[in-house]
Symmetry: none
Subunit: 157 residues, 2 copies
């Protein structure tokens, strides 16, 4: 069944974009998207997606995707941040200096932190310069290779 897989991703979207607090209303939304199933099936879908039900901080509860799902989605935009900002990367010893377009250092550094590359021990950002410390045992080649994999088409000279 291809059906289930596509339905799962629709359910995921619905949960991400709406404040849903019970399966029946989710069932209705799903119907509007063209999927008619029963509550039993939906219950199984939610379990499969590892959907949780958490407080809205007030007096209600709503469905929520597990953190991993939320994060890996936004990872894309972090990569965009890096692409947009980086001008050049150079090294000296176990330090790297990334030049960015003016004002972009912070967003790029944040993105690098989020991506959590194993080669990077830490970053410190100014306005258009980022100071990168390599983890012990890692080389600039390792980092550039890692960049190549995660963030293709980046200028590394």
């Amino acid at each position: 069944m291809k059906e289930r897989h596509t339905r799962l991703s629709v359910v995921k979207e619905l949960i991400k974009n709406n404040r849903i607090d019970n399966q029946d209303t989710l069932l209705e939304l799903l119907a509007k998207e063209g999927f008619t199933v029963t509550q039993a099936t939906l219950s199984r879908d939610l379990k499969m997606l590892k959907v949780g039900k958490i407080s809205d901080g007030w007096s209600g509860y709503y469905y929520s995707l597990p953190e991993n799902d939320l994060i890996s989605e936004s990872e894309k935009s972090y990569i965009q941040d890096v692409r947009r900002g980086v001008v050049s990367i150079e090294f000296s010893g176990n330090f790297g200096v990334i030049k960015t377009r003016s004002g972009h250092a912070n967003s790029v550094a944040l993105a690098l932190d989020v991506l959590a590359l194993p080669e990077i021990l830490g970053t410190l950002a100014g306005d258009d310069t980022i100071f990168v410390i390599l983890r012990e045992g890692m080389t600039k080649e390792d980092l550039l290779e890692s960049f190549k994999v995660r963030i293709p088409e980046i200028e590394t000279q």
Copy 2:
């Protein structure tokens, strides 16, 4: 009624320290602590504590406190600042990089300055990263040991 308030904090502890996935078992644990109430009351307690039910990543679900409660419940002291803010500590050569929760780098760095650990020559804080320069002759082991003494239960990995 004083009863409820104390019960709520016990419920909180139980949830924090156990993997509980339904109210009946929580009810039993609560009974062992000397509180005998009905499921109805417990349901209200959970709502009041804004407890959520989230996936264990496998095939089950368990109760979980809202993030705020897990992270902070603190007083003011420098050591508390450090505890609250620090995420990880790693080293490269005679530098240390302390990762903190976003926005906490400054308060942690200030706290470290005030604590005046002999191993630390100076600190430089960004938003969520602190660069620590070790005094000559000091090693990361020295600093970690010093942390262990002054600030137990800190993550040093």
